[in-house]
Symmetry: C3
């Protein structure tokens, strides 16, 4: 795994570029991303290009042997372009334009902007496509950041109508799929259909789900338009895009198929502070991030494309979370090693030097604004040092024994009609993931359409639209399937799944209805050693009382967990006690022995090596869990923010 | 009392209609509502009517002997109509149109829509007005649902100006009534007056109150336009409209005077989850609803029209509350019996079969989508069974000994200027109601203008605009009057009531000012056996220290409860201890002996019968409270979700 | 100090004006404010003036010897003016007009309204400028109330561009200052610049800070336009404006330089209920207000202009806070005496008689609507009585030993990028202030640009833009300087301050980075007698381990408090324990002995007199704290809502 950094030469005097490049190399970095956001410097006015500074910057980096990722600057169209073509702007759900003055002020459905994006990409790719040092290209930056996937513009409306016509062919087919007979929502032609905003009460859920699919598709279409041009000019370079964490507004599996390598931006502290974790956890890991946050996304994006990396790695306090503490010294090195252990090709820090101006002036870099080294720089150098000591070149990612299904359509579907206020698809998936990781496993996160061969356990925390072939494929693969609540509850058209569905058929049960519960309600379940409860959601299963597949029941007798042959079904939202018992049950069924790691410790098998990471503030002794380890980096006494590696 | 159901033949293949109708009859149902929401099927394009399917549906139901309620489909104008006349749409307070894509997308002040509503009503009524099976007609559906009473359209503005001119005649009269000299808000002519939205800070409260009166009136006007047409074509049928629970944006007493029978839509679980009750209560009654929720509305709507019923009764989990648990088995039968005990003519479940598509796909029906019977269907059949066992035909609703005054203008007035953040008019009224019901009483809920003859106690939890004749009428009726805080504090023009007012005069006190308190502040009052406190609000009463009418004082000596002759006045917002003590005092004065029912038990006297209902999860023994009862249905051991009936 | 009242003769029949005036005099009042809000009565239609009623009102008051403050009525432009010129209206950040129907419905950048404001001011000033009784003039009313400083109108946009051109001269200078190279935000000309609203994510902070400076300047410009006209016609009268509490949207120091006397509107109960204090404090002081609320603003506005007063003093329950309790009897007198002790020229109650109509009908006056005296009237009379007993004419405000720096630009800067959700500039300043006042001190609150001569301690709780001359001026003045966290962190252009800054240089430390913390995180610090913690914010200071200036460290070794020679620096947001220890340390360094007053007691030295105020509900004995006092008003046994005065 290589280390890299994001660099903005346009922010600094030319006189210090060479010194910057030398210091990067000295720090052990070999990759640099540049160019994204620089449109106003590349083309200060329409058609007036200023390549001089960028030529020089590229050359200065290349001379030091740094590999360059060139970003297209389309996340930040300049003012002169917006003033000439205000139809570039996206429109929010309330009908207001999302204007110039920050970034991402464009609508994915704007034909004008698609043309302009192609034009600037063409210019950039034509000039630098064959440059020896530019080994990869990044399209745009963080598609969808600041809720920009959806736009309610006239452009979007027209494109959505065409998209619907292409999908349904006839308006009757759409009316049937959406059930528009309900509330007299029927359409006579595609030209009558509006976007699903500004309705009196909730819009038709099928209408909304299709709009989300369309909006996701517009992102991919936009990306592909740039990728085609880059491919033409830079046939040997990798094309990538940097996606984000906890972001679901477009389908990352599809984007993953349209890049050579998928990269992502990992900010463990910012996400801990702003996401759903409990106050006590937010305190506990305020200086390390949640131990599973980065790992979850590493595994997820590896599921989108075998080749993947970290394009932006948090180096210190950031500026955008509600609270922005400093990471524990060493964490920025640990995070890089965690990426390595998950099979990243590179890990690139954001950013080289903290900018003293504009929106992100409080975002740390590897250097302080005055060029002194910051803790992030110290950590990056340490990571480089460790990576040079251990030889990862012979190691590759092996398939994990366990696949966790994560599905973007499920996320959209549940967001559109949660039916229970506390239902939270990502949280449920993350609960499964974190308990499995505490049990010591490597996990692959994959799409419901991905091959299942080679897995012993395939766990879908919830999969409302169960692909028709899913159970068959798992069965052929010899994988045990664990499905969570609400699985197979809906059709692709956002209708209730007709019963009996295959889950019911296999387990000889009926799931005629479900219920959602207030968060304070906990229904006890007698299973396993620890207290176990259903909360938030129950599928209310009916079955014969002598159905031996029923492993555990709620106190009111509703089956909670059912398992038979190769299929297990968890009918309720589990608390932590229940999820541990259920996973223990299915893992035993699969013949997969489990550990139970301390709260702050995580491990990852990478090829022939085992990595251990301490996310806590105290020393952890590994010898009890892993006796007789043959350490190649550090030993069994693992300090805070430290990693150990053994064979 | 008859049982019924809401049915949407347009959602299902014609081939199953006959079977549906047969099963309804078998289940003990005798009434079916159809038609509302079906505009796009009745008139797929302007002027192109398709009566065939509806003729057949009506006939299919009629053949089984089912009585039909035909709904006008005006809650859902179809897309072709909106596209042709976008001025139909309502405008929200921020100035945005409330568009097509769900329902209720129309402005009550749209002249175009009034005309179109008349046109479709005329067509429907002309065709079916004299059909033997159609015994009643419902106008539109749930007026005001999704906050649709108020619209800030140009149409509304023009209509409001005419309404004001009609009310005030001269602009000087309006200026005086509204006190527009304050802040230079004076108008020179009615044409200068805007709607009270988008002001810099709060608009004039009198302006707002008049706008609410106007908006309420527009709903009635709109209803009457349909009712007149229906009456013309269907002179023998009942005209109804189905109102909602906890909904106050128009005056239901006035609507009640403009229907033959008033019906309402009762969803005990959805409302419990979403309304103001404490977390512990929401847990306790999550499967039964608050024991007084339905009863309160039964009594309220009976106060709007002697003839009343339930048009939509919750049959199982719904889709629209934050959390949607399943009702306890039997509850949908209990709710029907509670309606019967309050004198309902019928109770109609919503809906026959759960729809697998569109917005309400997670809303239970009596049948599952695959036509299997759901718990709601089981309960409905059980209710039918019970009703066939007991003979209610000889029973009628007797006047209750106690009248509770509930007033829509009071609600609007307090919402406009709460003056204390925790003031909550409905909650205060409900507190009075629930304590009286715990004491075992039948209660009538009536308008402040209703006759008072026959009542022993008339309790107005708060009545800021006290009708001039109110105290006189009560006195003539021999009823004791209990007035709560803020009573008689305002004039009809939303000005402070000049002092001394009649309340002050009668009790020989002065109420020169009031105060609102943070919710954490509790001021002790020495009254009764349990701890009693003032909170939220105090009218700061001044009086001679030897005024013997003062029954209880706050610890800082302000009078809290004053009672003399036929008038009692509670000067503060009471906690539960205080309200019990106060009601005990006035009930004793009235010679009305009280019980104190267990928390989950409620009783209702209906004619010569007494009904008891168990809203809890444990068995309740009735014999101690009601020894020697002559049971006609069940006995003194009352299980969860069960009712008992005795003479 | 004189007492006064706000009066609205236009609200009452002429027949009672003379009696009102007589009663004012009898109550000890000698000043009356009138006229503001009365535009629709002065000019009922364009050009049609009705002076008769106002002439008479002025004469009626003058005859009784009352001094009049005449308000220009521009806070309430009448409907005919708005209808003729809708461009007068401000536009909110979402792009919607802020319409007619309450008050302050104008944009400070509207050229039309500036012209109209001049016209009405000219008319009023020409008529009454030389009237013997009109000794002062108030421009408009409460600039900025209801968030009206900022407007996003086309007028504002054009004016902002001119303001920027005037400030930066060249677009290059602006681009450099704002760092627009970041995210391609560069401008080619001033005409390209928009207002910083409706951006996709946060706008450039420098853009926002300049917009706030511009908006603040527009308020001052608007005020000056009126003041020039008034000065021309009323050369001998004082010009004032009445500002508010806890209001920071324009720079009050600058307004203070443009009035003869600055006045403010003091509502202690309303602000306690609505501001940041803890629930327990809101309960404790619900009838008195926070003991430091009024004092803080008295000291602040005296720092804006040596001549100051209270234009509106709360007399009883108000209408605009979430909860509106009645003040303890006597508080309205105590508040007046607190103003006197701080050097106010006058204290004027709002309002004479409670209006029974319109928006403020629940706002108490000195009289009830029926003209009976209210508690406010009783208190006002008592205040008059006390003031007539003690002779304050020989007393003047002496400079305090301690200056607290309060800075409007700091407030704006922190609001634009808080970087920590719990950071609260006013709260931090108020914490310093209240602890110093508990220690018994007089405090001056001053601008960072004010002279420092004469102070022993200058405390800046946080001063991100430290004026270049600040430390020098303090040093020359011999004042010890205490700077709090984030001081000197930013340049005037809203960029990070280049390091080393002067604070680092003097203390021989480095402050390369900072962190913000969740509110639940408390980092212990070993300092002083009570438990001390850092929370919310830490500047992460680096220094040699033998730096003797470091007085206290966090448990993780980061320096928390550093002091050397004349400079102390608190690197963290302090809890109460830490702030007490730090202030004790610096006060000892300055040779200023401290007391520790009971929680409800405050004292103030005024000239040769000492005032003590009891804000609690129990008697406080002063003798232990102030033995041997020579009382001129009351004695050492200080009851609730009472003041004592001694030499």
């Amino acid at each position: 795994m290589k280390l890299g950094v994001c660099y903005y030469p346009e922010h600094w005097p030319e006189t210090i570029w060479a010194e910057d490049a030398r210091r990067m190399v000295d720090m052990g970095l070999s990759k640099v991303r540049i160019g994204e956001f620089a449109w106003s410097r590349i083309e200060p006015s329409r058609g007036e290009f200023d390549w001089g500074w960028l030529d020089k910057a590229v050359e200065t980096l290349a001379v030091q042997g740094l590999e360059i990722t060139m970003g297209t600057p389309t996340a930040t169209p300049p003012k002169w372009l917006i003033d000439a073509h205000p139809d570039i702007l996206a429109i929010d759900a309330a009908g207001a334009p999302r204007g110039f003055g920050s970034r991402r002020h464009y609508c994915f459905s704007s034909q004008t902007y698609l043309k302009e994006s192609r034009r600037i990409t063409e210019s950039l790719a034509a000039r630098y496509g064959t440059h020896r040092a530019i080994t990869s290209w990044q399209t745009d930056n963080e598609f969808g950041c600041h809720d920009t996937v959806e736009s309610y513009s006239e452009n979007a409306r027209l494109a959505f109508r065409l998209w619907l016509e292409d999908k349904y062919k006839t308006i009757d087919a759409l009316n049937t799929a959406w059930g528009t007979v309900f509330w007299s929502m029927e359409y006579r032609r595609f030209g009558e259909i509006d976007l699903p905003n500004q309705t009196v009460t909730e819009a038709n859920p099928a209408h909304r789900l299709d709009f989300q699919r369309f909006s996701s598709g517009q992102v991919i279409r936009y990306h592909k338009a740039q990728a085609e041009i880059i491919r033409r000019h830079a046939s040997k370079a990798d094309i990538t895009h940097n996606v984000m964490g906890h972001f679901n507004a477009f389908d990352h599996y599809i984007l993953g198929r349209n890049v050579d390598i998928l990269t992502w931006d990992s900010y463990p502290l910012g996400f801990l502070d702003q996401a759903w974790w409990k106050e006590a956890d937010k305190q506990r890991w305020m200086r390390s991030g949640h131990p599973d946050f980065a790992a979850f996304h590493h595994d997820l994006y590896r599921g989108c494309n075998q080749r993947w990396g970290v394009m932006e790695q948090q180096p210190g306090p950031v500026n955008w979370a509600p609270h922005n503490p400093a990471p524990r010294a060493g964490m920025a090195a640990l995070w890089a090693l965690e990426a390595a252990a998950h099979g990243a090709e590179y890990c690139s820090y954001f950013r080289w030097r903290q900018a003293p101006f504009a929106q992100e002036q409080n975002h740390a870099g590897l250097l302080y604004p005055n060029s002194e080294i910051a803790q992030g720089g110290v950590d990056a150098a340490a990571a480089g040092d460790i990576l040079s000591q251990i030889d990862l070149s012979q190691q590759t990612t092996h398939q994990a024994p366990i696949a966790l299904i994560y599905d973007y359509e499920s996320k959209w579907l549940f967001d559109i009609q949660p039916q229970g206020a506390a239902w939270h698809y990502e949280k449920l998936c993350f609960m499964f993931y974190t308990v499995l990781r505490r049990m010591g496993f490597n996990i692959d996160i994959i799409s419901p359409d991905a091959p299942l061969t080679g897995y012993k356990l395939v766990a879908a925390p919830s999969l409302p639209i169960l692909p028709e072939t899913f159970l068959n494929r798992a069965s052929k693969a010899g994988a045990h399937v664990l499905l969570g609540p609400r699985s197979q509850s809906k059709t692709r058209d956002y209708q209730l799944m007709p019963r009996p569905n295959s889950l019911e058929a296999v387990l000889n049960i009926t799931i005629p209805r479900s219920e959602s519960l207030r968060e304070s309600v906990k229904i006890p379940i007698n299973m396993g050693l620890s207290a176990a409860h259903a909360c938030i959601w129950r599928d209310l299963v009916e079955t014969a009382s002598d159905n031996t597949a029923v492993i555990a029941r709620c106190t009111d007798d509703y089956p909670a967990f059912i398992s038979q042959g190769g299929l297990s079904y968890l009918a309720v939202w589990p608390d932590k006690g229940l999820i541990k018992s259920v996973l223990t049950h299915v893992l035993n069924t699969c013949g997969l022995p489990q550990l139970w790691l301390p709260k702050d410790l995580r491990v990852r098998q990478f090829g022939g090596l085992k990595f251990a990471f301490n996310y806590g503030s105290k020393i952890i002794h590994l010898s009890q869990l892993y006796p007789g380890a043959d350490y190649i980096y550090r030993t069994d006494k693992l300090g805070p923010a430290n990693a150990a590696i053994w064979r």
